[in-house]
């Protein structure tokens, strides 16, 4: 049982990572970011509940809130970027290099 929960959370984490690394659209990458954080939450909640440790659960709750905050910042940055110039994706963002 434990293996499967942690297995799922790891798989979801890696899916999120793949999303962030492989996808071109910034929003897709943001989704990937969200997925990574939530996958950790699953593992944390399960392990916490195993030892009846409420701290883990409250931590999971706070992490949820932090993830939300992060999405807000991410979305605002992406929208400002699109607003500023032609809508561009991650591969287009390469003026800063060398």
């Amino acid at each position: 049982m434990t293996l499967s929960i942690w297995g799922v959370s790891v798989l979801l984490f890696l899916a999120g990572l793949a999303m962030v690394v492989l996808r071109r659209q910034l929003l897709a990458m943001l989704l990937g970011l969200e997925l990574m954080i939530n996958s950790v939450n699953i593992a944390l909640v399960y392990t916490g509940s195993l030892w009846a440790d409420a701290e883990a659960l409250s931590a999971a709750l706070l992490i949820l809130a932090i993830a939300a905050a992060e999405v807000v910042v991410g979305l605002s940055l992406i929208l400002k970027l699109n607003g500023a110039g032609a809508p561009v994706d991650s591969s287009g963002l390469s003026e800063l290099k060398g």
């Binding site: 991650s90 591969s91 963002l93």
Partner: protein, 620 residues
């Protein structure tokens, strides 16, 4: 300190004070008077030398350290004087000949713009030569040895505007420097072997205990240094070119005194040289070869000073030849007499050049000078007779003692002795007849030549007296040389002349004179014809049997190799190495920068790779 006689102090102090006085006081104000203090110091030096010689003749031998020159912990280097028979004998000749030549020079160089510089340098050389003769240890001898070399450099190159004078000066100094390489290494080896001693007495005392192959090397290196300074075979090439200097310089340095320093060193270090069994023979053979070779070349030279230069090389060869079979006293005796008559010959050539108003005189510009310049002709003839070794003159006594010993050795040495006797009389009388007797068709004749002013004449006259009378002093000389001689076996006295020795040497000498007379006056054009008929022989003699071109080629090779080495090795390799490390960093930067593509996904991929690496380390 108190046992040092006043004359020894005066000997050194007076030239030093004279030089400083002239440099600081006379030269800035009255350059044309700068020779008076110098001549005064010459007089004092002659006085001191004579007094020292009489003391040594009376039996006094002085070897006293005066001060500590260098000091390093328990290692120290003394500064001291050694006054013994050998030293004072040569000192006497050097002092008097030097003084007279400096009187002559103050007249000869009066109208030269660099007069005070000349007089100063000349007197500095005089001081250096005297210092060399009275020093009591190798390093001090090396000090004056080098100082003499430097003075000869500045004096040969005195008229530095002339390209030939500049090249001659540099050649002379570098040749001497090659010799000094040998002497310095020898001194270092001797010091290493005798754990820190340098004075002659202590070194010779401790020599038997030293490893033999090191002693042989040191002895050979001392001989190597002597060949450079006394113009023996391998390193003699600088002396003929040294004639570029003013005539008094050639007279004093390159005839009478400086070049004899090499022979003086060999005799001074005779206990070291004689302890190696093969070395004296080697010195003898080199001496013989030099004497004969130089004699031959002298016969073919046209410039008067070049003839005398090669004659000096030849006579130095004779002295070395004498040393070859252990005849140290005759060698020193010949050194003294040669000093006198060679100085006279040079000064006469100087007068001729002065009269003709030219720096150097060729054979075809003179001819028939006897009438115009009787005093010079008289002195020249006396010196020529002495050089040829004809009976009553000084040259006979010293040369005969050497030839006599050579004949006793028999075989090859005897043949060499005969050849030397014949050649030396031939080339000097050829020069005499060509320049003084009736102008020939090829010669332009004396022109308005006339006897120079008295200051040039008187020194020549006194010197010619020495050239004539010096021979009769062989008895007192051998007694003088015996006192303070370092070898236990004592110094064999100068053998007086034997009848059959007399006949043999006079025969050769007269044969030489006859041949010279025949070829110059009876066949006046001969001296010019044979050059046309035997061009190859002329080229051979002109190039000193091919030795001068080889030396020139060798020095050019060294300079070129240094240039190539420096450009190739130093600039390209080391600098190249340094510059390459700089652009190695730049190239590395280029490749690394290519990774920073600016793509966000690449960055994230790299982050992932980094984390995977860390995790791998955990799981390992």
């Amino acid at each position: 300190m108190n046992l040092v006689p006043w004359s020894l102090w005066l000997l050194i102090a007076s030239p030093v004070c004279a030089i400083l006085a002239v440099f600081f006081f006379v030269r800035p104000r009255k350059p044309q008077w700068s020779h008076w203090p110098i001549l005064g110091s010459c007089a004092l030096v002659c006085l001191a030398a004579t007094d020292l010689t009489s003391r040594v003749y009376a039996g006094m031998v002085l070897d006293v350290p005066v001060a500590i020159w260098m000091l390093g912990g328990d290692w120290y280097l003394p500064f001291g004087f050694r006054v013994d028979g050998l030293g004072t004998a040569v000192l006497l000749m050097v002092a008097w000949v030097g003084a007279l030549i400096q009187v002559y020079a103050s007249g000869y160089m009066k109208h030269d713009p660099g007069f005070s510089r000349f007089v100063l340098l000349f007197h500095l050389f005089y001081l250096a030569m005297i210092g060399l003769l009275v020093s009591n240890n190798f390093v001090q001898l090396y000090l004056f040895w080098e100082l003499v070399g430097v003075c000869s450099y500045f004096l040969i190159g005195f008229w530095y505007q002339k390209e030939s004078a500049r090249r001659a000066a540099l050649q002379a100094f570098l040749a001497n420097r090659v010799g000094d390489f040998g002497l310095m290494l020898a001194v270092l080896l001797l010091m290493a072997m005798t754990h820190g001693n340098t004075s002659f007495s202590s070194v010779f005392r401790l020599l038997p205990a030293a490893p033999t192959e090191m002693v042989t090397l040191a002895a050979f290196l001392v001989f190597w240094a002597a060949t450079a300074k006394s113009a023996q075979f391998p390193l003699y090439f600088w002396l003929p070119d040294a004639m570029e200097g003013p005539t008094p310089v050639s007279a004093l340095m390159h005839a009478a005194t400086m070049v004899t320093a090499g022979i003086f060193l060999l005799v001074r270090a005779w206990p070291l040289i004689s302890s190696i069994e093969l070395l004296p023979q080697l010195i003898g053979w080199v001496g013989a070869a030099t004497a004969i070779g130089a004699g031959l070349v002298a016969c073919a030279k046209t410039d008067l000073k070049r003839v005398l230069a090669y004659s000096t090389v030849s006579h130095l060869g004779i002295m070395a030849f004498a040393l070859g079979f252990g005849e140290t006293a005759p060698a020193v005796f010949h050194l003294l007499t040669h000093g006198f008559f060679k100085a006279v010959l040079f000064l006469c050539v100087g007068n001729i050049a002065h009269a003709l108003g030219k720096a150097s005189v060729g054979v075809d510009e003179t001819g028939g000078l006897a009438a115009k310049m009787p005093l010079t002709f008289g002195c020249f003839t006396a010196a020529a007779l002495s050089l040829a070794g004809l009976w009553p003159f000084a040259g006979f006594y010293s040369k005969d003692s050497i030839l006599d010993a050579a004949f006793h050795q028999g075989g090859l040495q005897a043949a060499a002795g005969v050849a030397i006797a014949f050649l030396s009389s031939f080339y000097i009388f050829r020069m005499l007849f060509l320049s003084f007797l009736g102008p020939r068709r090829e010669q332009r004749g004396p022109g308005h030549a006339h006897e120079g002013e008295p200051v040039l004449g008187i020194p020549v006259f006194f010197l010619s007296l020495g050239a004539v009378g010096a021979g009769w002093l062989s008895g007192p000389l051998s007694r003088l040389l015996a006192s303070g001689w370092m070898l236990r076996t004592g110094m064999s006295p100068v053998p007086d002349w034997t009848w059959n020795g007399l006949f043999a040497s006079q025969a050769c000498a007269l044969a030489g004179v006859g041949a010279a007379y025949f070829l110059t006056t009876l066949r006046p054009q001969w001296d010019w014809d044979w050059r046309r008929r035997f061009p190859r022989v002329e080229r051979l003699l002109e190039s000193d049997f091919g030795w001068k071109p080889t030396v020139a080629a060798f020095s050019a090779l060294v300079v070129e190799a240094a240039g190539m080495f420096s450009r190739g090795w130093d600039t390209r390799l080391w600098d190249g190495l340094v510059e390459s490390t700089a652009d190695w960093a730049k190239r590395g930067g280029e490749r690394a920068a290519s990774l920073a593509t600016g793509q966000l996904n690449d960055y994230l991929w790299w982050m992932l790779a980094g984390t995977t690496g860390l995790l791998y380390l955990v799981l390992r």
